[in-house]
């Protein structure tokens, strides 16, 4: 028998957690400094790329074609959970698409050095960071045996 494995030290969740953390932290720093450096442009591009991926995930979910874009679907799932952690945003948002448009607008304005107010985007990526990190935690395995009560099965 020959068995192959694909081993990596990072999961998609962990990668997302680290990226979201870097994006939130950098955007906060840019909005304080009120000036853009080369690295900041890369961060803004990455943030917009992630938002596009989340939107693709939403469209894939609507058309029930999740298998076509697993990463995008994962990103969308994390975004939805992140919004649940933002009660103020949740209350004022009509749809996920509108929210992504609003975040994209803030990022475009930041890239053009027009407005440095990106508090909502920072809050969103901080929430994504927490959701993604929670998803990286290994879940304890549980086994259910038919006919055995859960309390007495320990």
């Amino acid at each position: 028998m020959i068995k192959s494995t694909n081993r990596q030290v990072f999961s998609e969740n962990l990668k997302m957690a680290m990226l979201a953390d870097e994006i939130a932290s950098s955007l906060r720093y840019i909005s304080r400094r009120k000036q853009l450096a080369e690295h900041d442009q890369r961060i803004i591009d990455k943030a917009m790329e992630l938002l596009s991926e989340m939107r693709r995930g939403m469209e894939a979910a609507k058309s029930r074609k999740l298998e076509e874009s697993l990463e995008a679907s994962l990103a969308y799932g994390q975004a939805i959970q992140a919004i649940q952690l933002m009660p103020r945003t949740l209350a004022s948002t009509r749809s996920f698409g509108d929210l992504v448009d609003s975040f994209n607008g803030q990022l475009k304005s930041l890239r053009a050095a027009g407005s440095f107010d990106v508090k909502d985007v920072c809050e969103f990526f901080t929430a994504v960071r927490e959701v993604a990190m929670a998803g990286s935690s290994p879940q304890p395995e549980s086994v259910r045996v038919r006919g055995v009560d859960q309390e007495s099965g320990a």
């Binding site: 028998m1 020959i2 068995k3 192959s4 494995t5 081993r7 990596q8 030290v9 990072f10 999961s11 962990l14 990668k15 957690a17 680290m18 990226l19 953390d21 870097e22 932290s25 950098s26 906060r28 720093y29 304080r32 890369r42 961060i43 990455k46 960071r129 927490e130 990190m133 990286s136």
Partner: protein
């Protein structure tokens, strides 16, 4: 977020201890390894651990530089310590079991030279090591560009000087 039980310094110390612990275990596992043992594989693991160490150190520096309050520093450092610990745990979980087998009685298998020749045709730097298992089963695990794959994935958060050092 709920208030952390440990302080940022304690989290940092834990990461440092974890790195030192992994390095000590790695040294133990490879010290008496046979000459035929895959050298580049164990070197890659060492580089990976050093990269995570460098990444965490740089992250702390960046957090302190960017933050305006002690609470923000604490939050940032604790978060960085958490992902550093995850990465280190994953390094141990994914790669150390192979190193643990290095010192087990190794019987050179007749198919090894043939497999090595086949592998080398695809990539001259291939290292092949066969671990004896039971019932004539062969488990195959292939690792390729372990370090490069890691730094490619985290390009955005790896500072340029650390990237140059690793490469």
């Amino acid at each position: 977020m709920p208030e952390a039980v440990l302080s940022a310094e304690q989290y940092s110390e834990l990461v440092g201890e974890r790195i030192a612990g992994l390095r000590a275990v790695l040294a133990d596992l490879t010290r008496d390894a046979p000459q035929s043992a895959p050298q580049r594989f164990s070197e890659s693991i060492q580089i990976l651990i050093s990269t995570i160490e460098g990444l965490f150190a740089d992250r702390k520096r960046v957090i302190k530089e960017r933050s305006t309050s002690a609470a923000e520093v604490t939050d940032g450092v604790i978060f960085a310590a958490r992902w550093s610990m995850y990465l280190l745990n994953n390094v141990q979980q994914q790669y150390f079991p192979f190193l643990e087998k290095l010192n087990s009685p190794h019987v050179p298998l007749a198919i090894q030279p043939t497999l090595q020749r086949i592998g080398t045709r695809f990539d001259p730097t291939v290292e092949l090591y066969l671990f004896p298992t039971s019932e004539h089963n062969y488990g195959f695990s292939g690792f390729r560009n372990i370090v490069q794959a890691f730094i490619q994935e985290f390009r955005l958060v790896i500072p340029d000087d650390l990237m140059r050092t690793v490469q």
